[in-house]
Symmetry: C2
Subunit: 263 residues, 2 copies
C-alpha cells in the first residue's frame, strides 16, 4: 500500500484529520510528571493515551529530542513504541543533504526510528530528496510554504509568473511517481493554501501552525479540503499538549475539524 | 572575538585552509579498527592525530552519527573531545525550522555538542536562521549554492535578474551584523563561486565537494580567494579519511591548497 493510501485509510477508519505534535519541553511538563524517572516519555504516554482514538497521526519534531542528547534519542524511541500500530508517526526533522548524506537521514528516520513519514526541506533539489521517497509505504512531506514569518523571504519570491513555493509544489508532483509525497503548508497561509490545493489536488497536505502560531482552522479546511477526498493532515501541538485537560481539548479540536469538513 | 575573526586567526596560525570531513561509515573503516570497542571514535582519533597540525577545522556531518542512534550521538561527543582546543569544529546538520524549534537545534549544536559553527538551510527565512546567529563567537554557514546536481532545481532559478542562491547571499549579508555568518558553496560550482565572492567579499565560504564529488581545487581557490584576505574553508572528506595513508594524503592536499593560494 502506498503512503497516501495508508493515510487515506487511517483517516477514514478513525474519522479524523487530527495529528498531534509531540514536542515536549521539560520545564513546561506538569510538575508531577517531572518527578518521574522519564518525564518526557511519561508526558508523551499521557498525551497518547488521552488521544489515540481521535487522531490519525502523531508528529515528533526531532529538535525537541535531539537537544537532550543521547537520552533524548532514547526518549523518542520509547515514545514511538507507545503509539498504537495503526496510527501514523511523522518524523519532523526537515532534513536535506546531498544524496550520500540524505541516505543516512532516510535510514535513521525510516529504518532506525521506523517513522511512517518524514518532513523534508527541498532547497537542495532532486537528488537530496530521492533517498526519502524510495521507501515503499513511507511518506515524505516536502516543505512548500511554511507557517513562520520568514516564509516570505525566499518561498514567496517570484520566478516568472510563479512563486518559489509553487515551483516546489510542481517539482514535488513530478517526484510523486510512488504516490508517497505530501506537502507542508502552514495554516497561517490559508489564502495561498487554496492555490496549492489546486496545483496538487491529489497530494496530502500536512498543515502545521494551528493554535500557538495563530493559523485559522476554518479557513484552512475550507481551502485545503475543497473536495471530500482531499487529504489534509492538521497538526496541533502546544495548544493540546499543554492544555489543562488534554483529552477535552483534543476532543474539541477534533469536533471542530469535523464540523468544518462537513460544511 | 567574532567567529570570522576566530577563523582568520586559526587559518593564519596553522597556515591552512583545510577542513577535514569526519563522516565515517562503519563498513568502510579499516578492519583492524572495526575490532575495537568503539570503531567510529578510534577511526576519528586516528584521522585527528594524523592531521591536526595541518587543518584549521573538522566538519562532522550529523547524518553519519544520527543514523547509529544514541550510540552514534555518544560517538560524536567523544570524537569532539579529541579535537585540539584551537581547531574549529563544524556541525554539518543543515538544520532549519521555525524559530521555536530552530532554537532547540542551535542549543543542541552550540551548547550541547559545543560546535564552533553549524551549517544552516535558509529555505524558511530570517526567523528560522536567527537562533543560529545569536551565539557570540559561533558561526553559521548558510547553504547558498550546494555541490550536488539538484542545486540547479531551485537554487539556480532566476528571480528577476538574480538567481535564488544570489538572493540567499544578499540576505545572508544583511543577517551578518555580528560578523559570524558564512556561506556554503559547492566546489563543483567554481564558475558561480567567483560571482558569490564578489557579492560577499568579506564572508567566509565553506567549500565542500572536492575529491569524491569532483570539485576543482585549483579553480575553487582562484575564484574563492581573489584577495589574500579572503576567507575560504576547503572541506575534504572521503578522499582523505579513507586514503591508504591518511597523513600523506592530507599533507598533499594541504600543500596543493597552499601552492594554489600563493600563485
Amino acid at each position: 500500500m502506498t503512503f497516501t493510501e495508508r493515510l487515506r485509510q487511517i483517516q477514514q477508519t478513525c474519522n479524523s484529520l487530527l495529528c498531534i505534535g509531540l514536542d515536549p519541553v521539560l520545564d513546561k511538563i506538569p510538575s508531577h510528571l517531572q518527578k518521574t524517572g522519564d518525564p518526557i516519555v511519561e508526558f508523551n504516554k499521557h498525551i497518547i493515551e488521552s488521544t489515540s482514538d481521535i487522531v490519525c497521526a502523531y508528529k515528533f519534531n526531532l529538535a525537541f529530542y535531539e537537544v537532550m542528547g543521547p537520552a533524548g534519542i532514547e526518549a523518542l524511541e520509547d515514545s514511538l513504541d507507545l503509539v498504537p500500530q495503526d496510527i501514523l508517526t511523522i518524523g519532523d526533522g526537515k532534513r536535506n543533504d546531498i544524496g550520500n548524506s540524505a541516505e543516512r537521514y532516510a535510514e535513521m528516520l525510516f529504518e532506525g526510528f521506523e517513522f511512517d513519514a518524514a518532513t523534508v526541506n527541498p532547497y537542495m533539489g532532486t537528488d537530496s530528496v530521492e533517498p526519502f521517497i524510495k521507501y515503499p509505504g513511507k511518506g515524505a512531506f516536502i516543505l512548500a510554504l511554511t507557517s513562520n514569518p520568514g516564509a516570505k523571504d525566499f518561498q514567496k519570491l517570484k520566478i516568472g509568473d510563479r512563486y518559489l513555493y509553487e515551483k516546489v509544489v510542481q517539482r514535488a508532483k513530478k517526484w510523486n511517481t510512488g504516490n508517497n509525497i505530501g506537502l507542508v503548508v502552514g495554516a497561517t497561509q490559508s489564502r495561498e493554501l487554496a492555490g496549492i490545493r489546486k496545483l496538487a489536488s491529489d497530494m496530502p497536505i500536512l498543515l502545521p501552525g494551528i493554535g500557538a502560531q495563530g493559523g485559522d482552522l476554518k479557513k484552512s479546511i475550507e481551502h485545503g479540503c475543497t473536495r471530500k477526498k482531499d487529504l489534509l493532515l492538521i497538526n496541533v501541538g502546544r495548544s493540546i499538549i499543554y492544555a489543562n485537560n488534554v483529552r477535552d481539548t483534543a476532543l474539541e479540536v477534533h469536533a471542530m475539524i469535523n464540523t468544518y469538513r462537513n460544511v
